[in-house]
């Protein structure tokens, strides 16, 4: 029967001097350990600074998997700092919204424009007789469509002017202006022109007493109509 190659190698190995046989025999585990160690070292470089790997074996080349994980964690921490401000920001928005709502409520909406004229008429009518006299002779409304007084992402403000012709005594006129200025619906008295009434002598009394005629007054009131974005 022919010898197998393995048996041949074994026979050759046994034929070697003892020193050589020992050298070859111990070289095998050394080579195995060396190769495994090299491959492990490379794998540790790929792994990076894994916290579960003992410090002695940890390799940080800057490009390992755990370097990538740590960088991602850093980004997450930065996002968390931003997210932590969410409550504070929402509180601030709520407070601003509340202020805006209160301020907006003072301005008439587009649909309430005609109502403003009625408000002015009512204020003139409501001047108490014991304070003074006011007659509202005419009201003209001018909308200055070209003069937007302000735009924001939430809406736009348009000015609207009411030109009033009024007659009355000075107390009634002052009371009327006061009522307009104090009305919850926002109105600005932009201009006033008062021409005093005629003073005549009352011939029926001696000495003649002066009779004061009604003053003629022209008042320009301005209000701002608020149109929320998308409502026009």
């Amino acid at each position: 029967m022919a010898e197998s190659p393995l048996a041949k190698y074994v026979a050759q190995f046994k034929a070697l001097p003892k020193q050589q046989r020992l050298g070859i025999a111990f070289a095998i585990p050394a080579a195995i350990a060396g190769i495994a160690g090299y491959l492990t070292w490379g794998a540790l470089a790929l792994l990076g600074p894994d916290p579960d790997v003992p410090n002695l074996l940890r390799r940080d080349t800057g490009s390992g998997k755990w370097n990538e994980i740590n960088a991602t964690q850093g980004e997450i921490d930065a996002k968390m700092l931003v997210i932590a401000e969410r409550d504070k920001i929402r509180k601030q928005l709520d407070a601003l919204q509340a202020e805006i709502t209160v301020a907006e409520e003072r301005l008439p909406r587009e649909a309430e424009k005609s109502m403003m004229r009625e408000v002015i008429q009512r204020l003139a009518r409501d001047v108490p007789a014991d304070i003074g006299v006011v007659n509202l002779k005419s009201v003209r409304i001018n909308e200055d469509a070209a003069a937007s007084r302000g735009t924001s992402s939430k809406g736009e403000l348009w000015s609207m002017t009411f030109n009033l012709d009024v007659e009355g005594d000075i107390n009634g006129i002052i009371k009327f202006i006061d009522s307009v200025e104090k009305n919850p619906r926002f109105m600005i008295v932009n201009s006033i022109s008062i021409r005093s009434g005629e003073v005549r002598a009352d011939g029926s009394s001696q000495p003649p007493k002066p009779l004061f005629g009604m003053h003629s007054v022209r008042i320009d009131l301005i209000t701002y109509v608020y149109a929320k974005k998308g409502s026009k």
Partner: protein
């Protein structure tokens, strides 16, 4: 049968004696398993674990990024809201009240403190103006002031024609010292636009009449929401 071993003791094989070379070789093989084991542990356990952890972190990063973007959007809204609030509140702050001013003005005219004369206003015009008596002080103040022209036609009736000048000076000085002038925000002096007069004796009422026109400027400081917040 009796077996007799004639070899010297050192050459006799004992069943219990292990070849030291073999033992050393076996030990070396066992020790070489340590790096093999480490290699397997790193490649089969730690690396897949790291890949899994990296994937989890990436997913979490995506979630947190979306949340943070939403928070940043809301933060951006603050600026919009503030601008909107500023727009409305600055308009509301521009309101100048005239009822009290007119009331104080009338009370000032009909005051019993005028000695020897009476004052009336026959024509009054109140209009917005862009400049103040100090020369665009409103512009210097950064546009946070509103100015109004208060233009009146006055008639002064005095008992003594020779004292017409005294009556006019008294009118100016008492007006400047009055609460009406100080509290209502009028600028400069009442006589700033005074251009002279022509007293006329009126026989029908036994009085000297002096007609003159004056223009005063009333200034109101407009406080915006941002100024209130100290920004």
């Amino acid at each position: 049968m009796i077996l007799i071993n004639l070899l010297p003791p050192e050459l006799r094989k004992t069943r219990r004696q292990v070849d030291p070379v073999l033992a050393g070789w076996i030990a070396a093989m066992v020790i070489s398993l340590v790096p093999i084991g480490a290699m397997v542990w790193v490649k089969q356990v730690r690396l897949p674990n790291a890949a899994r952890v990296a994937e989890e972190r990436q997913e979490e990063l995506q979630r947190r990024t979306a949340e943070a973007e939403q928070v940043e959007q809301e933060r951006g809204q603050i600026a919009e809201f503030e601008k909107h609030r500023e727009m409305i509140i600055s308009l509301l702050a521009q309101k100048v009240f005239w009822a009290h001013t007119l009331d104080d003005f009338i009370n000032h005219l009909i005051s019993p403190n005028w000695q020897g004369f009476e004052v009336s206003c026959t024509d009054l015009q109140i209009l917005p103006t862009s400049t103040t008596s100090a020369g665009s002080r409103a512009a210097k103040a950064g546009g946070n002031q509103k100015a109004f022209s208060f233009r009146g036609r006055f008639k002064l009736l005095g008992e003594d024609k020779s004292k017409a000048g005294d009556y006019i000076n008294a009118f100016f000085s008492r007006t400047e010292a009055s609460p009406f002038w100080k509290v209502q925000g009028f600028e400069d002096k009442p006589e700033r636009t005074y251009r002279g007069d022509q007293p006329e004796w009126r026989k029908d009422i036994d009085r000297v009449a002096v007609d003159f026109t004056l223009e005063w400027v009333r200034v109101k400081n407009v406080v915006t929401a941002s100024a209130k917040a100290g920004r």
